[in-house]
Structures are given as structure tokens and as C-alpha cells.
């Protein structure tokens, strides 16, 4: 018996010594395997991501509130300082917008009567889910944010995310109470757009810079800096006509777009359900865009 116990110890000692080394190699291969598998089978990586993000969503939600409060305070001080000039600017803008309002009313009436003449079927109405950005989870390699709503609130993959200024990006991962929005500046982002005035289509491609570029623009389009870019609705994922940005620079073979959205200050987003797919479970939190 004694002999046996000794042999076990003699056998076990090198094994115990090798165990950490083995564990290290195993975890190393596991990480490398996950990178490759994540590329080959996006579903697998997505499931892990959404599960962990869901778990941390309440923590991120709570922690991002003080940061948001701080941001509001800084903004408050800024605004108080510039109150007078801001007031003048707004009065002037208000004057101008009144004119536009009149034009919009006229056009609305005209469109309505024309539609009645043509028996036009309007596209299905849009619905929104409002979401708060709880994690600015961007690095030098990825541009995305995490929001505090998930499929419990009716969020689905592919939905467009907008804020008050324009298109922000697209929902790429959905958990039960969190979702990831891929920003339109990310290197993986491709959005079908048109130039608003000339109606030429193109694809807006992110490259992790602040100014994504236009690809597949027809040669005869001759884009001009300052022209507005809106979503085209091609592919049926995004509703047409969401404002995206303006053409910033036109160089040989490269047209860059300055988005309307300030990605440094994303706080609340609206996720737009265009209703092109299967019907969603009814959610009371959602409200139709057009009353």
C-alpha cells in the first residue's frame, strides 16, 4: 500500500506542475478558436455576446446615469453662458421655420389630394422604440453602442437607429433587455442611400473614421459638397428618407459624408420598426409615429 501511494505522488507531482501550463494553452486555444468561430459562425458569438451584455445591462444602465447627469450639467453651464446669442439665433430660425411650415402645409394638402386622385397606397406606418445608450462600447476597431432595450420591448435585428438629428446606425445584436447598435461609421456598416436632390443611389460605407465614404455612386452623379444624403430604402430594411448627412468632400474617386449625428453625444436613440417583416408581438411601450 505504501509503495502504491508513493507511486501516485511520484506520478501526480509532474502532472500538477504541468496543469497551469496546460490550462494556459487550453485557454489560449479557446480564445483563438473563438475568434475564428466568431468569424465563421456569427450566430454563436452573437449568442454569447447578448447573454453577457444582458447580464451587465442593469449595471451599465445604473452607471451611465451619473455620467449623463455630468454631461447635462456641463451643457447647462455652456448654455447659460450663451443664452442671449442663442435666443437671437432661435428667434431668427423660428421666423424662417414659420415660412417652411406654411410650405409644408401647402405641400401636405397638395400631396393628399394627388394621392386621392391616384388611389395611392401609403407605405406601412413606422413604429418607434425609445432607447437609452448605456455603453459607449467603441474602440479603435469597432464603432458601436449598447442600448437598454431588447426583444422584450420589440427590438429586432436590422432596425434603424435614429436620434433627433438623423440616422445613427443599425441594430446588430438583440438580447432580452439590451441591444447593440452598429454605428454607420463602423468599418462593417453598409447603408443604401440616395443623394436627395439628384436621386442618385449609392452605398454609404463606414471605415471607422468620422466621415464614411460613398461607394458605387454612378459616374454621372457628379456629387457636390453640401448635398443632403438620405436613406434610399433599398433592401427594405431601412425606411426611405431618413436624414443621414451631407457630402463633405469630393476628391477623385472618394466622396465622404459628414453625418448629421454627433457620435460623441449619443444619449437617447429611437429604434425604427419599418414593419417590412413578420408582425411583431404587440408592445404597449411602442407608439405609432403618425397619430
Amino acid at each position: 500500500m505504501r509503495y502504491r501511494a508513493g507511486s501516485i505522488i511520484r506520478f501526480a507531482t509532474p502532472v500538477r506542475a504541468a496543469a497551469p501550463r496546460f490550462a494556459f494553452l487550453a485557454l489560449l486555444f479557446l480564445s483563438a478558436g473563438m475568434i475564428i468561430l466568431g468569424r465563421a459562425d456569427a450566430q454563436f458569438a452573437e449568442r454569447i455576446r447578448t447573454t453577457i451584455t444582458d447580464g451587465f445591462a442593469p449595471v451599465l444602465d445604473a452607471l451611465s446615469r451619473p455620467a449623463a447627469t455630468l454631461r447635462d450639467m456641463v451643457q447647462y453651464v455652456h448654455e447659460t453662458a450663451a443664452l442671449r446669442s442663442e435666443n437671437d439665433r432661435l428667434r431668427e430660425e423660428n421666423e424662417r421655420l414659420r415660412g417652411w411650415q406654411q410650405i409644408a402645409r401647402d405641400l401636405e394638402a397638395e400631396t393628399k389630394s394627388l394621392r386621392e386622385m391616384l388611389n395611392y397606397v401609403p407605405p406601412s406606418s413606422r413604429q418607434f422604440v425609445s432607447a437609452r445608450v448605456i455603453s459607449d462600447s467603441s474602440t479603435a476597431y469597432v464603432r458601436s453602442v449598447i442600448v437598454n432595450v431588447g426583444d422584450d420591448q420589440g427590438v429586432r435585428k436590422g432596425q434603424a437607429a435614429v436620434d433627433g438629428n438623423g440616422l445613427v446606425g443599425r441594430v446588430t445584436e438583440v438580447g432580452h433587455r439590451s441591444a447593440r447598435v452598429l454605428l454607420l461609421t463602423d468599418i462593417n456598416s453598409r447603408i443604401p442611400i440616395i443623394i436627395e436632390s439628384t436621386r442618385y443611389p449609392a452605398i454609404l460605407m463606414g471605415d471607422n473614421s468620422e466621415r464614411p465614404k460613398l461607394r458605387f455612386l454612378p459616374v454621372e452623379a457628379s456629387p457636390q459638397p453640401g448635398e443632403r444624403i438620405v436613406t434610399s430604402g433599398h433592401g427594405g430594411i431601412f425606411p426611405p428618407g431618413l436624414p443621414v448627412g451631407v457630402i463633405a468632400t469630393v476628391a477623385t474617386g472618394e466622396v465622404r459624408v459628414l453625418p448629421y449625428v454627433n457620435f460623441d453625444r449619443l444619449e437617447y436613440l429611437r429604434l425604427v420598426d419599418f414593419g417590412t417583416d413578420a408582425p411583431l408581438p404587440s408592445v404597449t411601450a411602442r407608439s405609432p409615429a403618425r397619430p
Binding site: 480564445s31 476597431y141 471607422n208
Partner: protein, 171 residues
Amino acid sequence: MNNAFWQRLDRAARHVAPFVITVMLVVLNAIPLPVPDYRSIVPLIPLMAIYYWALYRPDLMPIGAVFLVGILEDVLTGAPLGLNALLFLLVHSLIRSRSRMIAGKGFAVVWIVFMLVLLGAGIVSWLVASLLYDAPIRMAPAVTQLMLTLVLYPCLAWLLIRVQRAFLANA
């Protein structure tokens, strides 16, 4: 007996402190801050923490914990799943086997070695990301990010030294 139980609980809590603090840093690092263009240059605070613990208390940061921190960082930052886990494991194993040698030579050496670690990590992650996305990724933000991380390392090290003295002096 009661006393012994509390002592054991106390010791256990102290032993997981490095892991818990590192997880907290990963989560805090993902909170949106009102700094212009913060998103692309946010310093790699988790990498600093991994380096620090591998250097000074490798016994309290087992590789399983390093792996978990890496996965969490990948998930919260939206990086390719496994990339930061891989990086953290490599950094941890490289540093822990040489920790005595590096830590004994004073802070300047620690900082210079951290610079080399950052350089290596930067090259590996840039290569992996570029391969995965089938396109070379712009380097400028990554370089700024690495520089900022390097400059801020003494601040985090100072903080973690305080933590270590407060909680882990006898652990």
C-alpha cells in the same frame, strides 16, 4: 469557530479583490463619457490592470480570471470575441514569469516594459482586426489610444498600489 469563519471569508474576499477590481475597471471603461472623440481613443484600462496584477500579484490573478476579464472586455467593447482574451492571456503569461526581474528594477523599467507590451498588443490586435474585416484598419486612432494608455499607466498603477496596500498587505 465563528471567528475562524469570518477570517476565512475575509481572506477569500481579499483574494478575489484583484479580479473584482479588474472587472469593475472593464465595466467603468465602457461607460459613455462626454469627451469629444472619446470613443476611438478610450485608454485600455483593462490591459493596464492585467499587466499590473501579473507583475505584482500573479498568485491572485489566475489565468481563468484573466480569460474571463478578456471575454467581458470583448463583449462590452464589441471587439471580435476572443481577441482581448487572447491578448490578456499572452500578456499575463509573458509578464508573470518575469515579474520578479521587471518589478525589482524600479518604476522606469516597469513603464518601459509596459510600452513594449502595448506595442505588441497593438500590432496583434491591428493584424487580427484587419484580417477579420478583410481591410486594413485606420491606424491613427489605435496609435493615439496606445499613447494615451501609456501616459495614463502611472495613474492607474498609483491607484492599484493604494488598493494593494489597503487590502492585500497580509493576503
